[in-house]
Amino acid sequence: MPTSLKLLCYNALSILVLLAVWWSLTHAGKPGASVSPHAVWARLSDVATNGYMGASIGESAGISAVRVVTGWLLSGLIGVVLGLIIGLNPYGRAIVDPWLNYGRCVPPLGYLSLVVLWFGVGSASKLVLLLLSGVPLVAVGTAAAVAAVRRERIEGACSMGFGPLGRLRFIILPSALPGILVSLRIAFGAVFAALVGAEMVASSSGIAWMTITAVNRGDMALVIGCILIMGVFALFADACLQRLTRVLVPWAGRA
């Protein structure tokens, strides 16, 4: 049997075991602490049709998805521009570096209290929080990628007569692209985590708000259902970003 097929068999076995453990736990465990897959499904379809405290599960998940994607895209845009500036300009880097490094090391939810004090509990404060958690990661990653562009490539472009803009467009941006994409993937995880935390602590909408409300009401089936939805979303987003990397950087690892 080829190795890859063996691996696949083990993978399948593993998932079967997981489901079996879940199923047996629901039969052995104390009621309320664990729920069967069936119960989760029933609860989810109930909430999908009848809603939960005035919000359907689709709406809640949609609100969260829009928040995450908006926050991530804006973080990416600001982060890449900032990263290019500091990657290309040592003074810019020296000025911004201490702030970015500091920002990178603060736990995102730490900002939440301050942001809520300043911007209230509305969507503005969430966006600011997501930017605070995403921008430093993208900017630092982009600046590092720009600084690592091979000297020969830039010298070659100078020899050919490219000016600064030509070098940016033809050499620096494409050379830094793999590193930028990696930092965007990391930033997505951070932004998603920050949003889930923020919705749990200070929000009245979104999938994580629904989760924490269900926790407070002892609704285990809905808690697990919401986490499954978040998991599917996270896996889907990660797969999309991986696919994007493969399409945009087919030369990754080969040059």
Partner: protein, 273 residues
């Protein structure tokens, strides 16, 4: 050679990604100036009277607040509660993650069986499954330490696993020729070869766990730095909030710095930024 050192006497013709270079000394100087300028701008904004003192206390006021908190009974106990949780959770993640990563790297069966559950929960923000843990274990140390262990675990396992795959065949074959047992090979060849990446994994895991501990304390806890800051914000005590936030950032920087030092000491043959 060329443009690498800022003090090169020969002129450079601007061929690099950067159009000019700063020496380390100048870089530090400019960075320091930037921090000082930031604090001055903060002070000026606070004094301008455009913002209420409740929303934007001046740097001096925050310092006074810090001294007051520091002398009081709240700040440091909560701070050390957070640190204890962090190190306990990360400790569990390391103790479990490194052997499991080694096992997965060396055995196809272990890799095939353990990869699906790890890959399925890895993309989830740890704070989301914290909800289940709270329902199981209740609000308290157990649920927080567990979520930190689970959150810090994936990067440690995956880095270890990938490192094992990259250990040079010659090294293992050499160890086999010398007659080392499997355990001997692990201790003398595989583990040291993987150490740089394992440390990278621990560093990433530490960063994740640090973010999670603050979030978890805000969501379900009545102690710790995260709870303290969140609680203060409920009473609009912005001095405490900002003090806590600065302390969190400095602690994050310190943790990252400690990991850098550990990496330099333990694996000096790898270059770290």
């Amino acid at each position: 050679m060329r443009v690498a050192s800022g003090s090169a006497e020969a002129g450079t013709a601007g061929a690099g990604a950067l159009s000019f270079y700063l020496s380390r000394y100048h870089f530090t100087l400019v960075s320091l100036a930037s921090v000082v300028a930031g604090v001055v701008v903060w002070e000026l904004l606070a004094r301008s009277g455009r913002f209420s003192e409740i929303l934007l206390p001046s740097p001096g006021a925050v310092w006074v607040e810090f001294l007051r908190l520091s002398a009081g009974p709240d700040l440091w106990p909560n701070y050390f509660v957070t640190l204890r949780r962090l190190f306990l959770g990360l400790g569990v993640a390391v103790v479990a993650g490194v052997p499991i990563g080694l096992l997965m790297g060396m055995s196809l069966a272990a890799r095939g069986l353990l990869n699906p559950p790890i890959e399925l929960y890895r993309p989830l923000p740890a704070i989301s499954y914290f909800a289940i843990l709270v329902m199981w274990f209740g609000v308290g140390e157990q649920s927080i330490v567990t979520v930190l262990a689970l959150g810090g675990f994936p990067p440690i396992v995956l880095e270890t696993l990938h490192a094992v795959a990259k250990v040079r065949k010659e090294r293992i074959e050499g160890a086999q020729s010398m007659g080392l047992s499997t355990l001997g090979q692990i201790i003398h060849v595989i583990l040291p070869s993987c150490l740089p990446q394992i440390l990278t994994g621990i560093r990433v895991g530490l960063g994740l766990a640090y973010s999670v501990v603050v979030a978890a304390e805000m969501v379900a806890s009545t102690s710790g730095l995260g709870w303290m800051v969140y609680n203060a914000s409920q009473f609009v005590e912005s001095g405490t909030v900002i003090t806590g936030l600065i302390l969190m950032g400095l602690t994050g920087l310190a943790l990252d710095g400690i990991m850098t030092v550990v990496q330099r000491r333990l694996v000096p043959w790898v270059a770290y930024a």
